[in-house]
């Protein structure tokens, strides 16, 4: 029968085990363990892919923050020495400020995505079950 891992575990413990021999119960437990292992592999694979994406986004944001910080320092020095017209200074400051904001937003996104990965790491089975609710073909087929 096709059902979520949580349902399969509940049915195994509450419905199947009280009515079958130890041998059949043992086989069913092994089947459940194999299903859970499959779910964990899916979760691991998903986490690795998302981790790579987060690192790419993080690297870009960090490069941007470093570059804007350095350019802001140069700009401030030019401003202090009055080596730049106010209008030009204002325009460059606005551009660098916007770039800083965008890079910080990207870091914030990385943090939110990391929180999501943490949730999946904490409970990969719940994540897999939620995934199968969206993609029914992934629902596992059990012998009970």
């Amino acid at each position: 029968m096709r059902r979520t891992i949580v349902d399969a575990r509940r049915a195994l413990e509450e419905d199947l085990i009280p009515t079958v021999s130890d041998h059949v119960a043992q086989q069913a437990r092994q089947e459940l363990a194999a299903g859970e292992a499959k779910a964990r592999r899916h979760a691991d694979s998903y986490i690795s892919e998302r981790e790579a994406e987060i690192i790419t986004m993080r690297d870009a944001a960090l490069r941007e923050l470093t570059e804007t910080r350095d350019k802001l320092d140069v700009l401030a020095a030019q401003g202090r020495d009055a080596r730049i017209p106010t209008a030009e200074y204002t325009a460059r400051l606005r551009e660098l400020s916007q770039r800083t904001d965008r890079a910080e937003d990207a870091l914030g996104q990385c943090e939110e995505l990391t929180d999501r990965l943490d949730e999946i790491e904490q409970d990969p089975i719940a994540w897999f079950d939620a995934l199968t609710a969206r993609i029914p073909r992934l629902v596992l087929d059990w012998s009970w």
């Binding site: 986490i47 690795s48 981790e51 987060i54 690192i55 993080r58 944001a61 960090l62 923050l65 470093t66 804007t68 910080r69 802001l72 320092d73 700009l75 401030a76 020095a77 401003g79 202090r80 009055a82 730049i84 106010t86 200074y89 204002t90 400051l93 660098l96 400020s97 800083t100 890079a103 910080e104 870091l107 990385c110 943090e111 990391t114 929180d115 990965l117 943490d118 790491e121």
Partner: protein
């Protein structure tokens, strides 16, 4: 340590760079204020010179 925890630590260290960028932004804004004040003073001086002619 899990991957999420490693990422979290990495991102926490990045916040220091973000703080530095924000500090630089504040300094650049201060420098703009000084620049504008100097420009206003220069403009006022130029007007005074024109007025005295």
């Amino acid at each position: 340590m899990g991957k999420a925890e490693r990422l979290r630590r990495l991102l926490a260290s990045d916040r220091r760079t973000a703080d530095q960028a924000n500090k630089s932004l504040l300094q650049a804004e201060d420098a703009l204020t000084a620049l504008e004040e100097r420009e206003q003073q220069r403009s006022a001086r130029e007007q005074a010179v024109r007025g005295s002619r």
